[in-house]
Each structure stands twice: as C-alpha cells, then as structure tokens.
C-alpha cells in the first residue's frame, strides 16, 4: 500500500487563537537520510534526525532504521556533539555500521550494531590535517549514484573497509582502514608516499584479499595517468601485491572486480587503451577482461575492441566511433551469477554549438573577446550495453535509443578533446545514466537512465530501465511527469524503484515502491 509521510515542520508558531498544541511546539529536524547497502544491494534505509537540543554543545539524535520495504525496524537514540554528521551506512550480513563525522573532535566514528540492535563495537579515528579535508568537503546528502557508497564497503560477515583520501598541500594520497565486526580488531594500510597525485578506488574483495585500484599522476595537471592494482591481506592489512595494469602492450583502467565463491581467482574489468595512449585524452580501444590470482598475476586476458568486435554488432566509423553514437563512456561493468559479463555505457560526441558560435560572433561585433559559451558542445547520445559470455567472448551489443541531450560548454572548452570532456560530463552529472542495482547474489541487474519523450500522449522526462533476469533482457519506462508537484526517483531493493511524489498544495510527500518490468 502507498505510504504516507506527514511532513514535520520545525516551527513554533502560535495558533490563531493563541493556543498551543504539542505538535506545533515539537521540533524535529531531518539531518540526512541514505541507503543501507550490502554488496551493491539496497537492504534498507536510515533517517538521521536531530530530535532535541541537550545543551550548548550537545544534541539528542534519533537514527531510524528501516528495512527495504520501508518498515521501521528501530529507533536508535543517542546524545552527541551538535556538529556530528552521518556519512554512510553499510551491512555485511551480520552487522550494520554507521559512519559518523564529528567536526568538533575532528574524528570519524564507526558504530557497529548486531542484528539484535545492540551496539557491539565502536571504532574511532582521529583525523589529521591530511584526512580532514575530505570529510569537510564531501556532501552529506547522498551522492550521484545512490545505490553505491563512496568510502565505506562491506566485507561479508567479517567487517567493513573504509578508504579515505588524504591531502596535504599538493600531495594527494589515501589510506585503507578495516574494522572487524566479529571481534574488536582494526588495521590500517598506508601506501608508500612517492609524491605523486594519487587516488584510490575500492574494486572488491574475495575471501582473503581486498583489491584497490590506485590512479596516480606526477602532478594534478598531468595528462598522463598511471593505474596500479593493490592487493591487501584482509587478515592483517599487509600489501600482497602491487602491479601496473598493463598487459600485452595495453593499459587497462579497472572499474570492477568479480569473485567466485570458494575460488581465489577473480575477474578484473575495465576499458583499455593502447600503451601510448593517454587515458585523459584518448578514446578507449574497447573493453578488457582479466582473470587474476591472489598473487596479482594475470592468468588470462581478453580484449573486446570497438573496431574489430563491437563493429560486428554495431556500425563503427574509421575513427572507431559507433555510428550516430560517437564514443562510449562506461558507467558500470560487472559479472552476473550465470557467469556473463555486462558493460553499461553511454555515447557522447563533440559537435559545433550554434549558440556558442552566435554569442562569439555577437561578442566580436560588440568589440569584446569571446562569448559566455564555447563554440563546441557535447552531445550525450544513446545507451550501449555489451554482453560477454563467461569465456569473455562478446555475444551481443545493443543500443538503447534515447533523446540526445546537448550540453553547452563554457567558453574555451572547445580546445579540450572529447574524452576529457566526457570526464567533465560525468563529474557534472550531465550523462543520463542514473544507477545500476544488482539483484540477490548478482543473479539479475537493473540499469536505469533518464530520457525525454516528445510523443503525442506524453511529453516530459521518463525513467528507463534495462533489466536482466533469468537470462533475458527487458526494458521498462516510467513517466516522470505526474500530478505531483515534484517527483524524485531513487534506487530501491533489487528490481524496484522508490518514487517520492511531493504534492505542494497538500504539503504531502508520498513514497511508493514500484517494481520494474
């Protein structure tokens, strides 16, 4: 049934008759909310309220835990500094963790709860100058892809891994922290600092090692970027291997790993480039897949190129561009339970901008140099899905047609190459791709994107999904223009989305969970 949420307004205004009621004196503020995530699957939600003020420096908070069907499971009440923020939450099959940032004490607090709702362990990490920069800058109201965490990851039934970017002046590095959920134990991994500009991304873990991709550049402005894979022992935090992601004269930029239960072997996936190419400037050559072992050795590899492989399914031009689509930016790469691999991408092109040219000409006529817009613009084109067999053979490539969005660029951006601009599009949220949610044990998936429809019966935004279930791909569409004043769509439990409809006139927010077809 539809769930109705009565909005609480933190006002203390008097009634017209000068009479007070408990409701209008009561004041509760929602600080933030988010998803509880296990292995890229949404297991529930949390709502973090400031439920009272205790003294000058202390507030009372209520952390409300809901399951994936929006049933309230527990209210956790506690008192803490008025400057704490709840950053992320994760679930590892036996414990829930909530990651708090206490700005007063400059500290990160990881609070773990067992399934009975009892707090089991609390791990605190005092931030130094290098680590505080990240937490002071990171947004506390969710991220682009709300089905994913940014720095907190579950290690099934063992604990949680946290990757924190560190910054000191012009030096950028990272650290990895592990917090055990079955006993009080934590370890920390700090890489050797080589003065490079370094960023780390967690790719996944098998039974014994966690794998982190490290991207490094000599300088922040360098166009050359190097990728290495670092394997870290989950028992003690020691480095097991560190390898450059190069193979047979090709460079790969891993985006995801896939593990098989009981096997130490794991699969690494990502776009690949020719060895002389620069990832920030050149187009990818296609998609690479490696099978690796726990020592960091590549056991086998396969490369699916745009020019030779994808072209058998989709027409490509001499520059390796897919006809009408342009280049492809990969948003997600993953393996499903049946062994298949999927790559979800979106097309982009750099084209001339009539608006930019016109404003430039008008500015020149007025005697000034340059207009507000670039003479080039980016065109975000169709969705692309690549399907590979468990032997890494390309089995299908499908284009999902959608309205091509134009993204006007600021003046001066015309000199940037399209691949650099694609990274800017990703950062600014200009792609139409929304999220990918994995089903239970990665047996299915749903990838979603928005589109604009100009039909006779409907004109407006739509949410579109590509679903994989029981070996079949299906698509679905939800019109986002409704009688509600505002509609927001969020990822939900596998196969569903959460629709938040706000009715301004009634000051009513309606939450409903709908299944995708």
């Amino acid at each position: 049934m539809t769930l109705w949420v009565i909005l609480l307004f933190s006002t203390t205004q008097l009634l017209a008759q000068s009479k007070l009621s408990i409701d209008n004196v009561y004041s509760v503020t929602l600080r933030n909310s988010g998803s509880i995530i296990e292995n890229e699957e949404i297991k529930g939600y949390y709502f973090f309220y400031q439920s009272d003020k205790i003294d000058k420096r202390t507030n009372e908070y209520t952390l409300q835990v809901l399951d994936a069907n929006l049933n309230k499971l527990k209210d956790i009440k506690f008192q803490d500094s008025k400057k704490i923020a709840l950053m992320e939450s994760s679930y590892n099959g036996s414990s829930l963790v909530f990651m708090f940032f206490d700005e007063d004490q400059n500290m990160i607090d990881y609070r773990l709860y067992d399934m009975e709702g009892k707090k089991t362990y609390s791990y605190s990490k005092i931030l130094d100058k290098r680590s505080e920069a990240y937490f002071k800058s990171v947004p506390r109201l969710g991220n682009d892809e709300e089905a994913e965490n940014q720095s907190l990851y579950d290690i099934p039934n063992k604990g949680f891994l946290s990757i924190i970017p560190l910054r000191e002046g012009k030096k950028y590095t990272y650290e990895v922290n592990f917090y055990s959920s079955d006993k009080r134990k934590a370890w920390n991994f700090n890489p050797l600092e080589d003065g490079k500009f370094t960023q780390a991304q967690y790719l996944g873990a098998n039974d014994s090692i966690a794998i982190v991709e490290v991207l490094s550049k000599l300088k922040l402005t360098s166009k050359e970027m190097e990728s290495t894979l670092v394997g870290i022992n989950l028992m003690n935090g020691r480095k097991v291997f560190e390898i450059q992601t190069q193979d047979k004269g090709r460079k790969m930029y891993p985006m995801n790993i896939s593990t098989v239960a009981g096997k130490s072997e794991y699969i690494v996936m990502g776009p690949y480039f020719e060895s002389e190419d620069r990832v920030l400037q050149d187009k990818s050559e296609g998609l690479g897949v490696w099978a690796m072992n726990n020592a960091g050795k590549i056991i086998s590899s396969k490369y699916i190129s745009w020019a030779n492989d994808v072209s058998k399914y989709i027409k490509t031009d001499f520059k390796g561009r897919l006809a009408d689509i342009g280049y492809v930016y990969f948003h997600n790469l993953f393996q499903t339970e049946d062994g298949k691999f999927f790559a979800v991408g979106e097309g982009y092109k750099k084209t001339a901008s009539a608006l930019g040219i016109a404003t430039t000409v008008l500015s020149a006529m007025a005697g000034s140099y340059g207009g507000g817009f670039s003479t080039a613009k980016m065109k975000v084109t169709d969705m692309v899905l690549l399907e590979l067999s468990d032997k890494f053979m390309l089995e299908n490539a499908t284009i999902y047609d959608k309205y091509n969005n134009n993204v006007e660029l600021p003046s001066g951006y015309e000199f940037m190459n399209p691949h650099t601009l694609a990274l800017l599009l990703k950062t600014s949220g200009s792609f139409d791709y929304s999220f990918t949610q994995m089903g239970k044990n990665k047996g299915s998936f749903v990838s979603g994107y928005t589109d604009f429809e100009k039909g006779k019966n409907y004109r407006g935004l739509t949410f579109n999904s590509i679903s994989y279930h029981d070996g079949q791909l299906t698509t679905d569409k939800i019109n986002l223009k409704t009688s509600a004043s505002k509609l927001h769509l969020l990822p939900a439990k596998p196969g569903s989305v959460l629709l938040m409809e706000y009715y301004k006139k009634d000051k009513r927010l309606e939450l409903r969970m709908e299944k995708l077809n």
Binding site: K19, L20, Y26, K43, L73, G117, H469
Partner: protein, 456 residues
C-alpha cells in the same frame, strides 16, 4: 511431521469437517439501497449539525472541529461504498437491534443508525453521535445471534454512556486548560530538552487517555450485560464472543497457504525463488516487546474482560434463553454471504493482495467454488495490469514483520514475480479450471483477459 504441523493438519481437518463444502452456494454481492443510504446520511448530517449547535463554553470551537472530523470520517465511509445498505442484511441487523432495544425501553433509540460495514477488520465501532458500524469482518466469525447481540449491546453501551463525546470533551478541556497551556508555553521557552519535556507531557496524556479507554471498555462490557440480560439471548455467549475476539488476529479461514499447491503447472512449474526473501532483520524482538506495553493498550485483554464478566454472567444466566431469536437461518446465510463479501469489498476497495490471500485461504475449504477460482484469476490480472503501469504499490501491501507469516509469504512472492510470470500464473491457473468453470460468465471474462496478458 513436526508436532506443530500435526496440530495444524488436525485443525485443518476438523475445519473442513465443520465447514462441509456446500458447493451449491452461488455468491452474488449484495446490492446497496441508495435511497436508504441517502436517508441515513441525511439523519447523520442533521445530528452532526444539531450536536454542533448545542455546543457552548470556551472550547466549543475545538470540540466542533473534532465533531467535523468525525462527521467527515463517517461520510467518507459512505462515499467509499464501505457501508452496506442492502435491504436484506440491514433488515436483519435492525431486527437484532430492535430485540435489544424493545427489551430496554428506558433507553432512547432515536438517532441511532446501526449499520454493517464491509471492512475486513474484526471490529465494531460506536462513533459517539449515534452511528454504530458492525464490521462484517467480525460478524462472519461469530457462531450465533447471541454473540452478535453482545457486540451490539457493547457498542450501544458506549453510546448511552457517552464515552466518545466524553473523551473528546475531556481531551479538549485538558489540552486547552490554562494549566496545560502554561506548561506548553514554558516548554516552548526552553532552549534545551524541549522535546524531552514534550515527550513526557504527551506520554502522560496518552497513558491517561488509554487508561480511560480501557476503563470505558470495562464499563461498556458491564453495561452490555445489563442490556443483554433483559433480552432472551443466551448471556453466556458474551464470554464465547470475547474468546472469538481474543483470536481475531487470526483469519477466519486461517490456513497454511502453500502457494506451490496452487501455482505449480506442468507447463509452468513453481519456482522456489518466488517465495524467498532476505529482508533485513534488525532489532525485531525489542520492538515486539515495546508494542506489548500494557499501559499503551487501547483495549484490555479479552482474557481479563472474560474474568471480570464471568461472575455477572453466571448470575444473569437464565433457563430458556436462546442462541437465536431473530432467525438462525438468516444469521447463517449472512455468515456465509459475508465470507465472500469480505473478499469482494477488498477487491472493490483496491486491497488486491488481501483479497487474493483470503481467497487462497478459503479455496482450500471450497476448491470447487466458481467465485473463489474466478477472484484468484481476477486478482492476478489486477496485479499484472498495475505492475505494468507502475501502480502495483497502490493495491498490494508490502511485506511487513507485523503481518501474519503466511500473508507475508504471499507478499514476498508478489514482490519477486516478474510481469510475465504474473501473466503466466493467471493464465495457467485459469486454464486448468476452464473445463469446470467456463460457463460461469465472470470466470470466462477473467480467463479471456488473462489470455490477452499472456498473449495466447
């Protein structure tokens, strides 16, 4: 077989024996009498306007606001077609009420509107201004007229003791008293622990309200016996009625609904994955305990109520009292009809998952019933259409730890089914029954719709 399962099996067997399938019953929903409905609504409106006009004192505006809310709530029940105004059941209910009222002439029956509500909740309500709603979800669980008479006596007692209105007046007087307003003002000025103070104040108010509520229930029980003893109904049935209420959290046809038995077809086998769920289970036990806090209950436990009434019942028990006075056959016919009306109204009011569940429970007793077989197909077709249009959430409940385990299992299945699978289940379920029921026009219609969904 586990002992529990053995017991369930035995209970199921006994249930089947007691409810010997009478396959000749053919359900046709009662048709409401619109003119009767209009008349009743007019009298309710008139009464509301009179009640408001008689209000006086400083707080009359606040009381009038609550009266208006109550009136709107009653009106909505008529508008949503929840109130049963069909002649046959209404005549029966009026005769039952008359039997009580004629034997208690000191109580004025003017302004009373006693009606059946089609709601599935096992409940009856006295709204306080003269409207009494007897839910068919409670009525169809009863075994005899004396039990129904006790329910009516209890609700009439609430009315004659003016419980509802007293409660409203008491609430408004407390909330808008100088003392309470002063407390609120001083809390409002606090810089710290404002909500803590408000929580304490609200909790105190709630406890007091619930305590009064429980006291009202005891008083209504007590007066119900006084009303009932003047009739020729069997007063002992007041206690059996309370026992039935005590088990009201279980459905009338509470069965282990084995979905695999209903939805396993040679061409489309049942998948175990449909009933799987891995919902986050967190702090479940603790929350259950907090729900059971005695001080927050609106009603006293039925066991306690029985204990309180037992002595009076023994005292008032008389020879020659009857379980049925108005009509045993009409009572039994209504019980049977209401089994189906509950499902039908669930369908009409868009509670499709609940309708499907009740039909699946009941079909285990009446496997050859054309209506039940049709309604299962109809519900599946509704699931298909709404899932396709992304409005499924408007007609199905989401799994919830508060639901019955069996119902939750069905709800998880609905969540796990793909669109095509729903179409297939409906099609194969109905196809298997086609030879038996195709001549039943509603079945043929539902079957043809399922064929379209499944592209057959």
């Amino acid at each position: 077989m586990y002992p529990y399962r053995k017991l369930r099996f035995l209970a199921f067997f006994l249930f089947i024996c007691l409810h010997a399938p009478s396959q000749e019953f053919s359900f046709a929903a009662f048709k409401n009498d619109p003119s009767y409905g209009q008349n009743v609504q007019s009298t309710i409106k008139k009464r509301y306007e009179e009640d408001v006009s008689f209000l006086s004192g400083n707080n009359k505006k606040y009381i009038a606001d609550i009266y208006e809310e109550r009136y709107e709530l009653i009106k909505e029940r008529f508008t949503s077609n929840e109130i049963l105004t069909a002649t046959e059941p209404q005549q029966y209910l009026s005769a039952l009420a008359d039997e009580i009222l004629k034997n208690n002439p000191e109580y004025n029956s003017k302004g009373l509107n006693i009606l059946f509500s089609k709601s599935f909740y096992a409940n009856a309500t006295s709204m306080g201004e003269g409207s009494i709603f007897f839910n068919i979800g409670l009525f169809h669980r009863l075994q005899n007229e004396s039990q129904a008479a006790f329910v009516l006596c209890h609700e009439l007692a609430h009315y004659y003791l003016n419980h509802n209105n007293n409660n409203i007046h008491q609430y408004v007087t407390t909330i808008y008293s100088d003392n309470f307003q002063q407390k609120l003002k001083s809390i409002q000025k606090l810089s710290y622990e404002k909500n803590k103070q408000l929580d304490a104040l609200a909790k105190n108010l709630l406890f007091r309200n619930r305590r009064h509520g429980r006291a009202f229930e005891h008083a209504a029980d007590s007066m119900a016996l006084e009303l009932m003893k003047n009739t020729n109904y069997d007063i002992r049935e007041a206690l059996t009625c309370l026992s039935i209420l005590d088990s009201a959290d279980k459905d009338k046809y509470s069965q282990e609904v084995v979905l695999e038995q209903h939805f396993n077809f040679a061409s489309f086998p049942f998948k175990k994955s449909w009933i799987e769920n891995d919902d986050l289970v967190f702090a479940k036990t603790e929350d259950k305990e907090s729900h059971d806090l005695d001080s927050l209950k609106t009603h006293p436990d039925c066991a306690k109520r029985i204990e309180v009434l037992k002595e009076k019942v023994r005292q008032y028990e008389k020879k020659g009292s009857k379980k049925f006075i108005v009509s045993e056959s009409k009572f039994n016919a209504l019980i049977k009809q209401f089994d189906y009306e509950v499902i039908e109204y669930c369908v009409q009011s868009g509670r499709i998952s609940r309708a499907l569940y009740y039909a699946l429970e009941m079909i285990q007793i009446y496997p050859g019933d054309p209506y039940l077989n049709t309604i299962i197909g109809k519900c599946l077709n509704e699931l298909y259409t709404t899932q396709k249009n992304h409005t499924l959430s408007k007609i199905v409940d989401l799994p919830n730890p508060e639901h019955d385990i069996e119902y939750n299992s069905l709800l998880h299945t609905i969540q796990n089914l793909r669109l095509r699978e729903i179409a297939a289940l409906s099609f194969y379920f109905l196809k298997e029954r086609e030879p038996q029921f195709y001549s039943f026009a509603p079945f043929a219609e539902v079957y043809n719709q399922s064929k379209q969904h499944f592209n057959q």
